[in-house]
Each structure stands twice: as structure tokens, then as C-alpha cells.
């Protein structure tokens, strides 16, 4: 079904383009067309994938924008918009060429200047991008179609950074938007990328509906699609995201065929969805998600490593997953800081969480000098997975003998409150619960949750020069074996400090009508999908 780039390019050449497309035999698109009605996992309100790290904005980005490099299903980096890369022998100059036929949705051609500026804007915000740009001397272009990246020192993760799979993804944008300061967001009528779908601004109803249409001028690569890499062939005429506030209505709508694709089916409902005629359920994200209970390592009892260790020792991932996810089929205890089943997952230092022990935890707590101080948990009420996690975490801590105060609030308030570094009695906090997608945790550099550089780290402000030094060591190391050894040392050190507790790895299946095929592995991509 994948057309070769040569054919497409010929068709698009010159003034004959429109006539050429019209002349394309209908039979050539036998299985294509139609609208895919999708229930996304959240509502899309911010449209700028650089402005925020929300997963829904990343998914939106993949529809509209394209990337220079991309990771395939084996997590290998492959060229996407890039035709190739030329690295100087000293490893300091990267010359990235653009392939032919790339154009923005407004019709203007994609230039190397656009891309260089897009990289710079992303590099100011994204954690991995910031690290990359600390090695970059200049990011420019050669005046034609080549991006020139000059480093001040050698850096091992240049292409892994530019080809990053998950949020913030370095998406390419036209110069006029790539020049926006990072505090200025791209507006609803400014969503112009070069990706396989276009954003329909007139139909955009934030919180209710987002419509994407096939980009007729998109030139896919010739390789088969594999994750974010390979040929992004848009078979569908349009993709419609419809937001549902109520999970029961989501279930009903899929069962009656009013929607075709339900991105995240709650695990408890999976058997019901699977048992419905005409509907299938499958997990497309083998990396899953990792639940975390993050400690505030600056304030109160959670600043005491002994208290953190005691809590971590007591938490039982099996119970936590049952409460949060339900079906054991979709939850798997995982005792590594890297997603189990991926390259850097290991067992270093994990003995004490693999077999939770409340009595031993009580001993650790007694030795820590904990004096019954109030322990404030920011308890989310409007996200069921978090709410359920928190109830078990709080219950465990109470049995451990911690004076827990679970303050119930919606997620928006958690985000506000957790930014506070104040003392506990002055609006401060000790713990909140969330999860990250596996794709964001793959290695010590991409994993922002592991950062331990104080103010620059994730909220909770872990501050540990040892971990930071090892993360840099990892970034500069050559070869997977060397990197694995460093990853193990980082994990061992992390399990001494426990800046957060791991709550298990869980998988969220997707439900879809049986006339939908060609779904790629997550994060949800909408090219390659066909509806018959």
C-alpha cells in the first residue's frame, strides 16, 4: 500500500501536481479514506508542543508536525525528515541534510533554517535538549538544505536527543513560529507543520473536538512504518478527536460504534470491551507506564532519607497495581528505575523493594529519628488511577506509623501546590503521586525524574551531585555495555536516596472497532491506520 517516494515526487512536480493527483486511479486507494473517530485520553487545549510536556500535546504534535529523526519499534534512531547525517571525524560537526519534497502546510518549502531554529527553541525547554545544547557551540544552516550542528566537546547522544520519541519531542516548525520566545505559545490559527495531517483550526473546539485532515502534499519515506520512523502514510481522510467527560459514555460509544478508537481503556473495562462483538482490545505500548510517589526532599519528614527509605520499603507494588489498574493482566511489578523489558532495566540495589516488609520498614523508620511530624500528601481526586494509588499509599504509611495528612484536591491544584518549596506548615507538601510513560524513562538522560540537580530537577528538588555526575558520564559514554554499567550505578545510588518510590509498571490497552487496522505501537500515531 505504501507508494514510493519517487512516484509521489513525480506527481507533485510542477504545475501538473493537481491534475496528477486527480488522475490517480481510485483503485490505488482502495482501503483508504474515511474518518477515524477517536476518544483521546485528555482534552487538547495547549497546541504548542514546546510550551508544555502534556502527552496529549505530544500526540497532537505527531499528527501535525514532523521530526528530523525518529525512533523505530526497536528504539533505534532513523532519519525521518533528514536524508542523512554526516559526522566529522572529530565527532564535533553534524551536517544533517533534508530530503526532497518537504513542505509546510501553507505550501512553502521546509528549509534548513526553519529546522535549525526549531531545534534551538526546543533545546531551551526540554531536559534532554538543554543537556544537548550545553555541548552545542552553534546550530545553523549552510544556506541550502543542510543543518549544521557544531559541538564544543564530543557528545554521545546527539541523534538520540534529536530523535527523541516522547515529550518534549523536537518537532519542526516554520521559522516565524520557531522564533517565538518559549514563553509565547503557538495559537489556534498558527498550527502549521509539515506532518502527514493538517490541523483544522475552524473546527477546533477545545475540550470537545479536534479535527485533523490528511495532508495531500505529504511525501512519506519509502521504508515501512515502524513507530515514529519509516513512511508515515496517511490512509484516513480525517482523524477526529472527540473528548468524553464520562467513562461510561466512552464505553457505550465504542460498543455502539459511534467511535472507532478508544485510546485508553480502563483495565477493569477491558474484558467487557473485548467481549463486545465488533470490538477489539490490545495494548500498543509495550513500554507501559511507571507509577511514582514523589517525595519533597527539601522539607519536613520527607527530607529525611531514612523516612523515604522506610516508606519505600513498606509499599507493596502488587497491592498498589491491583488498586490502581485492577486487572493483573495490565499491571506488572517492576523493581528498576528503568522500564522493565528495556535496555537499561537492571536489578542493582532493588532487593529492599522487591520484597516489601512492613516490620523491617518500621525498624528503618525508628532508626531514622522520625518524630511523628505531620506528613502531607497531595491527594488527587479527579484522576482515578492516581486516586486509587494514593489510597493504598496512604493506608500503607498509616500502618507504618506515619502521621499522614491526605489533602484532597484536583490535579490542577496539585500542580500548583507541588511547586511550593515552603515549609509544611506554610503550604508545603511531602508527597504526590503520578506516573510517567515508559518512553520518558528509557535511560538516565532522557529520564527527567532522575535529575538530581536541585532547582533544575523535577519538583521535589532532588539534590545529589553523585547522580548528576553519573548522568553526565552516561551521556558521554560510548557503547551500550559501558552505558549499562553506569545505569546500574545510578540506580544503586538512587535506591539509597529514594527521591521517589516506584509504584509498579502498568499498561493501558486501546479499544478499537474491528474494521480498523494498521495501528502502530504507541505513543498513538494515526498514520498507517486504515478503516474499511
Amino acid at each position: 500500500m505504501i507508494r514510493t517516494t519517487t512516484n509521489r515526487r513525480q506527481l507533485l512536480g510542477g504545475a501538473a501536481a493537481a491534475a496528477g493527483l486527480a488522475a490517480l486511479p481510485r483503485g490505488a486507494r482502495a482501503a483508504s479514506g474515511g474518518t477515524l473517530k477517536v476518544i483521546p485520553h485528555a482534552s487538547l487545549t495547549i497546541l504548542d508542543p514546546v510550551a508544555t510536556t502534556g502527552y496529549i500535546v505530544r500526540n497532537h504534535g505527531y499528527l501535525v508536525y514532523d521530526t528530523l529523526f525518529a525512533q523505530d519499534a526497536n528504539l533505534e534512531v532513523q532519519p525521518q525528515m533528514a536524508s542523512g547525517v554526516e559526522i566529522s571525524p572529530d565527532g564535533l560537526t553534524y551536517r544533517i541534510g533534508l530530503r526532497d519534497g518537504l513542505s509546510w502546510h501553507d505550501g512553502s518549502p521546509v528549509t534548513a533554517e526553519d529546522c535549525a531554529l526549531s531545534l534551538i527553541r526546543w533545546g531551551q525547554v526540554d531536559g534532554m535538549g538543554q543537556r544537548l545544547f550545553s555541548y552545542v557551540e552553534s546550530c545553523t544552516h549552510d544556506g541550502t538544505d543542510t543543518i549544521v550542528l557544531k559541538l564544543s566537546r564530543p557528545y554521545g547522544l546527539v541523534l538520540q536527543s534529536i530523535g527523541k520519541l516522547s515529550t518534549n519531542v523536537p518537532f519542526m516548525m516554520p521559522k516565524r513560529f520557531a522564533e517565538y520566545p518559549t514563553s509565547q505559545r503557538i495559537g489556534a490559527d498558527e498550527v502549521i507543520g509539515s506532518g502527514p495531517f493538517t490541523f483544522n483550526a475552524a473546527e477546533f473546539r477545545p475540550g470537545a473536538r479536534v479535527v485533523y485532515e490528511r495532508n495531500p502534499n505529504y511525501v512519506p519515506r519509502s521504508e515501512p512504518a515502524s513507530n515514529a520512523a519509516g513512511g508515515k502514510v496517511a490512509h484516513l481522510d480525517s482523524v477526529e478527536w472527540i473528548n468524553f467527560p464520562d467513562p461510561n459514555t466512552q464505553l457505550n460509544a465504542l460498543m455502539t460504534g459511534e467511535v472507532d478508537y478508544w485510546e485508553q481503556v480502563p483495565a477493569d473495562l477491558a474484558p467487557i470491551v473485548a467481549g463486545t462483538r465488533g470490538v477489539k482490545v490490545q495494548n500498543f505500548n509495550p513500554l507501559g507506564n511507571m507509577g511514582m510517589a514523589r517525595f519533597n526532599s527539601l522539607q519536613g519528614a520527607s527530607a529525611n532519607p531514612g523516612v523515604r527509605r522506610a516508606i519505600t520499603r513498606a509499599l507493596n507494588q502488587t497491592d498498589l497495581l491491583l488498586a490502581a489498574v485492577g486487572s493483573p493482566e495490565f499491571g506488572e511489578p517492576c523493581f528498576s528505575v528503568f522500564p522493565c523489558g528495556t535496555t537499561y532495566a537492571n536489578a542493582a540495589g532493588s532487593d529492599f523493594i522487591a520484597e516489601p516488609d512492613l516490620e523491617d520498614a518500621k525498624k528503618i523508620l525508628a532508626e531514622s529519628g522520625y518524630d511523628g511530624e505531620r506528613f502531607v500528601v497531595l491527594a488527587t481526586t479527579d484522576i482515578p488511577v492516581q486516586t486509587n494509588y494514593i489510597q493504598v499509599v496512604v493506608d500503607t504509611m498509616q500502618r507504618l506509623g506515619i502521621n499522614v495528612e491526605a489533602q484532597a484536591m484536583d490535579w490542577a491544584t496539585v500542580l500548583q501546590r507541588r511547586a511550593s518549596k515552603n515549609a509544611i506548615d506554610d503550604g508545603g507538601w511531602n508527597m504526590f503521586v503520578t506516573w510517567w510513560e515508559g518512553a520518558d524513562l528509557l535511560n538516565p538522560v532522557v529520564q527527567f525524574a532522575l535529575a538530581a540537580n536541585g532547582d533544575g530537577a523535577w519538583v521535589g528538588w532532588a539534590d545529589d551531585p553523585q547522580i548528576e555526575a553519573m548522568r553526565t558520564e552516561f551521556a558521554e559514554a560510548q557503547g551500550v555495555d559501558a552505558q549499562k554499567a553506569i545505569a546500574e550505578r545510578i540506580q544503586a545510588r538512587f535506591f539509597e536516596q529514594n527521591y521517589h518510590a516506584l509504584l509498579g509498571q502498568f499498561f493501558v490497552p486501546t479499544g478499537f472497532r474491528d474494521n480498523v487496522s494498521g495501528i502502530l505501537e504507541a505513543p498513538p500515531f494515526f498514520w498507517n491506520i486504515q478503516k474499511t
Binding site: T45, G54, F204, R205, P206, R209, P245, T249, T256, R418
Partner: protein, 312 residues
């Protein structure tokens, strides 16, 4: 008459001002949306930068004056999240909500007024009791439970009607009807209860009046007495209840829109509250309040037409 209307119009200004001040102060009791805007992994420096960008770090009175000044020029501001004008967001979402409210009021009046009249006419019989128990039931079941029950029955089991969504009346009248029936039924339940009770009470009262007895004595047929005389005089309280019930209706709309996934104003405002999108919350609550005030103003004026005894 014109002077009277003008006077009543002016009296709505302080009411709307109270609404504006209340909502504005309430939203600023605790925190702001800067952390939500900055995203999950933002550092505190990034959050502060966002706060400064949107002027959320300025004194409250200054923010309030800026907002009121803009509102007076017809500008409700822009969503902090999408950057779109609030007036545009309202315009995009107003149709489903307005249609749902309209169908609910029409259906409720059509069902509840006859129910109330019959109950009053047959006061203290089993008919009356049945009507009244139904009316009380209307106040006793959470709207969403009723919505689920209707979906389960008519959409999942019988497959007669769609589960969710909204279709514009202008684009597809049949589709509009199919989509609006269940939400209307759900939302009408409480409204029917309210109107039926008031109708019964008002008609019972007028039935005791002298002129009704006169009409009956003159041998006018019962139906004529009921609907010509009694109901006409019961119209004023019924209208009042419809006006006051609009606030109740808007509350019900929020839930009904969630259950049936109707992209209306109720959803818009709840989403905005959960995200702290201040301009949308402020703009919409002011908008709802203006509708409520405006509608009740019109009803006040309608009184003078319906009931010549009322003079201001």
C-alpha cells in the same frame, strides 16, 4: 411602560456587578493556573515566567479593573490555555446548550402544566397522588443516574437512539431530534416535577376564587373553566418558576452534557474550573448570570401583559 423597563434594566447593573466581584474574588482565593500552564515537568522559574506573561503576578484590584474595563467594551478576554477569545468559545458552544434548554423547557411545560391542572382538578384522588409522587421523585434522583438508565434502556438494549453527541438542528433536523431526545428527557425530569407542583398549587388556589365558582355556576363546561380561567390566572406563578428554574436548569445542563457528551457551555465551564482558566470561568458565569437576569426581566414584563392587576 418604557420608563419602567428602563428602570428595571438599570437595576440589573448592581446584580451583575455583585456576580463579577464574587466570581473574581473567589477564583483568586488560592493560587492561579500558572503551574498548570507550565506543564508537568516545569521548574519554578518557568512557572514564575508564565505568571508574569499573563499578568497573574499583579495586584488583585488591578487585575479586576483591567478585566471589568475590557468587559465593558464587550471584550471577555482570552482563554489562558488556547489563547482564543472567550466570546468565540461561547459562540461556538452556545447552540447545543441553548437548544437543550429550549427543548427541555418546551417539553416540561407541555407535560407538566396538564399534569398539574389535572392533579388540581382531581385534588385528593389517586390521580393527584400519583402526579405528586412522580413530582417528588423528580427531585430525588440524581440527574446522572437517570441519564445512565435511559442510555442503558434506549441506546444499548433497544438501540433506538444514539448514546452521545450533538447534531446541529440546521445541518440535520432528524439527527438533531435523535440526539436531543434522551438528554431532554433526563433534564426534564426535575423540571417537570417543579412546574407540575407549582401549577397544581396555583390552579387549586384559583379554583377557589369567586369568578371560577361563577363560571361553573353559569354552567360552563369544566375543561373551559380549567383552561380558560384557572390556568390563565395560574400563569404568573408558573412563569416565575420557569424563570427562577433557569439557574437550576443550568446546573442540570452541566451534568447532562457530561453524561451525553454534548459539547456545550456546561462542559466548557466545568473544564475551565478544573484547569483554572480564569477568563473562561469569569466570562461564562457572568454570561449565565446575565441570561438569568435578562430572562427574569422579560418575565416581569410579561406579568403586566398576562395579569392586568399587576402594576408597578
Amino acid at each position: 411602560m418604557a420608563l419602567l423597563i428602563l428602570q428595571r434594566l438599570l437595576s440589573t447593573i448592581p446584580v451583575l456587578l455583585v456576580v463579577a466581584v464574587t466570581v473574581f474574588l473567589m477564583l483568586r482565593i488560592s493560587g492561579d493556573p500558572a503551574a498548570v500552564l507550565a506543564g508537568d515537568t516545569a521548574t519554578n522559574a518557568q512557572i514564575d515566567a508564565v505568571r508574569a506573561t499573563f499578568g497573574l503576578d499583579r495586584p488583585i484590584w488591578e487585575q479586576f479593573l483591567t478585566w471589568v474595563g475590557k468587559v465593558l467594551q464587550g471584550d471577555l478576554g482570552e482563554s489562558l490555555f488556547t489563547g482564543q477569545p472567550v466570546s468565540l468559545l461561547i459562540a461556538q458552544r452556545v447552540e447545543p446548550t441553548a437548544m437543550l434548554a429550549l427543548t427541555t423547557i418546551l417539553f416540561s411545560v407541555a407535560v407538566a402544566v396538564p399534569m398539574g391542572v389535572i392533579a388540581a382538578w382531581r385534588a385528593d384522588t389517586w390521580v393527584d397522588r400519583a402526579v405528586m409522587v412522580f413530582a417528588v421523585l423528580g427531585f430525588s434522583v440524581p440527574v446522572f443516574v437517570l441519564g445512565y438508565a435511559l442510555i442503558l434502556g434506549f441506546s444499548i438494549n433497544l438501540r433506538w437512539l444514539p448514546v452521545q453527541g450533538y447534531v446541529s438542528l440546521l445541518e440535520d433536523p432528524i439527527g438533531f431530534l435523535r440526539h436531543i431526545i434522551l438528554p431532554t428527557l433526563t433534564l426534564s425530569f426535575i423540571y417537570v416535577a417543579l412546574i407540575a407542583r407549582i401549577t397544581r398549587a396555583s390552579v387549586m388556589e384559583t379554583l377557589g376564587e369567586d369568578y371560577i365558582r361563577t363560571a361553573r355556576a353559569k354552567g360552563q363546561i369544566e375543561r373551559r373553566v380549567l383552561f380558560r380561567h384557572a390556568l390563565r390566572n395560574a400563569a404568573v406563578p408558573i412563569l416565575t418558576v420557569i424563570g427562577l428554574g433557569v439557574a437550576l436548569l443550568i446546573g442540570g445542563v452541566v451534568v447532562t452534557e457530561s453524561v451525553f457528551n454534548i459539547p456545550g457551555l456546561g462542559r466548557l465551564v466545568v473544564d475551565a474550573i478544573l484547569r483554572r482558566d480564569y477568563p473562561i470561568i469569569q466570562g461564562l458565569i457572568l454570561f449565565f448570570a446575565a441570561i438569568y437576569v435578562g430572562l427574569n426581566l422579560m418575565i416581569d414584563i410579561a406579568y403586566t401583559v398576562l395579569d392586568p392587576r399587576i402594576r408597578y
